[in-house]
Amino acid sequence: MKIAVLSGKGGTGKTTVSGSLALSVPNCQYLDCDVEEPNGSIFLKPDIKKSSPVNVLVPEVDASKCNQCGKCAEACQFNAIAVVKGKVLIFPQICHHCGACVLACPNGAIKEVERSIGVVESDENETFLQGKLNVSEPISIPILIQLKDRIKGDKNVIIDCPPGASCTVVESIEGCDYCVLVTEPTPFGLHDLKIAVQLVRKMQIPFGIVLNKASQDSTIIHEFCETEGIDLLLEVPFSQEIAENYSKGVLPAESSEQWKDRFKTVYEKIERGAKK
């Protein structure tokens, strides 16, 4: 079973929920797909033993074969190549590694070379995996693809997604059996939750909601779940203790058996929900 944890809005508690699930679900593999700002390791404290670079292919021009015709720059849809004053300039950071320039070059002057944009790290048994985008790199999708290639079919997989609802989230949740949407009882939490709901519905993945920082003062998320007929899997109350533990890198399921049991129950609900 593959479970993705996402939220739309950042800072609602994706890592709190995905990390707690990883501590509570049997035979589990945890993937931190928030490769721009990975935080899972702060809470799960894995012993990182393996690290492999994520390489992408970028063009390199052989000046002796190039006649500056400009066909490569014309073919590139991402403005990663420009021909200026008889010279071909390549901007490797915005290259999407598609190979169109190689196909477009009539002189066979472009070859592709490897370039590292980040790493995939794991513990010895690959029960914990995280991707890290190098600082100043814009494109993270190739790291997500490599992370997901390491998924083991016989494991329960928990995927901690990036915030938002753009292509990186699509890549992270693709092929998952169930999505857990984490939200908070504020107008912002609800607004971004609705975006996340549209995304998982578009991708036809069963889903349920975890309400974090729940407060008796607000029922907006309950009302939304009721109107939309969405399962509310768990409520984590707003508490100074949970917030302080979080600040130190301690998850609810790590600090108390009671929370561990609650997340086990969430997992049972997920199993049932994924079959619906």
Binding site: G8, K9, G10, G11, T12, T15, E36, E37, N39, I42, F43, A75, Q77, F78, H96, H97, C98, G99, A100, L103, A104, L133, V135, S136, E137, P138, I139, S140, P162, P163, G164, A165, S166, C167, T168, V169, V170, E184, P185, T186, P187, F188, H191, D192, I195, Q198, L199, K202, M203, D217, S218, A243, E244, Y246, S247, K248, G249
Partner: protein, 288 residues
């Protein structure tokens, strides 16, 4: 006119709360929300949309089934696994790179522009506001951010400041938000994850040569991490321009769509004023 971008690395640290508070306190300004896939500023600014435009920020391959002979060359060429066995383009997978267009011996494939979102110009009681919404799961969020920033610059009359609400992360959206800005203010929080994310996002600002300031929100939640953040900033030569105390009333007011300034929260308001004084002075002085 000076552009100040508010980012955080980690989400949910209080960017939008700070920017919407400043949108009341700063006199001569325009406002932009560059968090295009989970925008929140419009909820607090309650504006009236004056102009709405579809944005075509990506391309997608289209296969003409009449011309296609199913030779399979496009599938071999595509590095994004976006062509299915029936030789149709899989939704949300195509990058719009055009490699298949070049490779197809039948000339059966062409690229079409795809709508990826909407860009809005709104009138609010606090000034003109530029924002956008990315279509669900669309490509090209970075380009949409660039469009929001272009849109806000066409609105400038004689305003002194553009206040830009950024997005979490360090990737393309953040880079598009800070490129060419006069300064970034990183809104951090004293948690282990907030600290780690702050360090990475400051690295991005440094790489692109954008002057950075740090403000620590809810600083009293964990004084140990707060002082570690202060030490790190000092070592990096980044000024900590303010520390905002944790106050459950801030969240309570936000639930009623009110910033701490509107809710009359004096302690928080004064700290935000002081943050702005330090940032604005420093940006103005660096010019001379």
């Amino acid at each position: 006119m000076k552009q100040i971008v508010f980012i955080s690395g980690k989400g949910g640290t209080g960017k939008s709360t700070l920017v919407s508070s400043l949108s009341i306190l700063v006199k001569s300004k325009l406002i932009a929300d560059c968090d295009v896939d989970a925008p929140n500023m419009h909820i607090l600014l309650k504006g009236e949309v004056l102009k709405k435009a579809d944005y075509y920020g990506a391309k997608e391959a289209v296969i003409d089934s009449e011309l296609c002979v199913k030779c399979g060359i496009c599938k071999e060429t595509c590095r994004f696994d976006s062509i299915n066995d029936e030789f149709e383009i899989k939704p949300m997978k195509c990058e719009g790179c055009g490699a298949c267009v070049i490779a197809c011996p039948q000339n059966a494939i062409h690229l079409e522009e795809v709508k990826t979102g909407e860009v809005y110009t709104s009138k609010t009681s606090r000034g003109t506001f530029s924002h956008a919404l990315l279509d669900i799961g669309a490509e090209g969020s970075g380009r949409l951010v660039t469009e929001v920033r272009k849109n806000v610059s066409t609105c400038i009359k004689d305003e002194e400041w553009v206040l830009i609400d950024g997005s979490p992360g360090i990737g393309c959206v953040v880079i598009a938000s800070i490129t060419g800005a006069d300064a970034v203010v990183v809104v951090s929080e004293p948690t282990k994850s907030g600290q780690s994310d702050l360090e990475r996002v400051l690295g991005v600002a440094k790489h692109f040569g954008t002057p950075a300031f740090v403000c620590i929100n809810k600083y009293d939640l964990n004084s140990e991490v707060t002082s570690q953040i202060e030490d790190f900033c000092e070592k990096e030569g980044v000024k900590v321009v303010g520390k905002i105390p944790f106050d459950p009333d801030v969240v309570k007011a936000l639930r009623e769509f009110k910033t701490p300034v509107e809710a009359g929260n004096e302690a928080v308001t004064n700290e935000i004023k002081s943050i702005w004084e330090k940032v604005s002075e420093s940006v103005m002085n660096s010019e001379s």
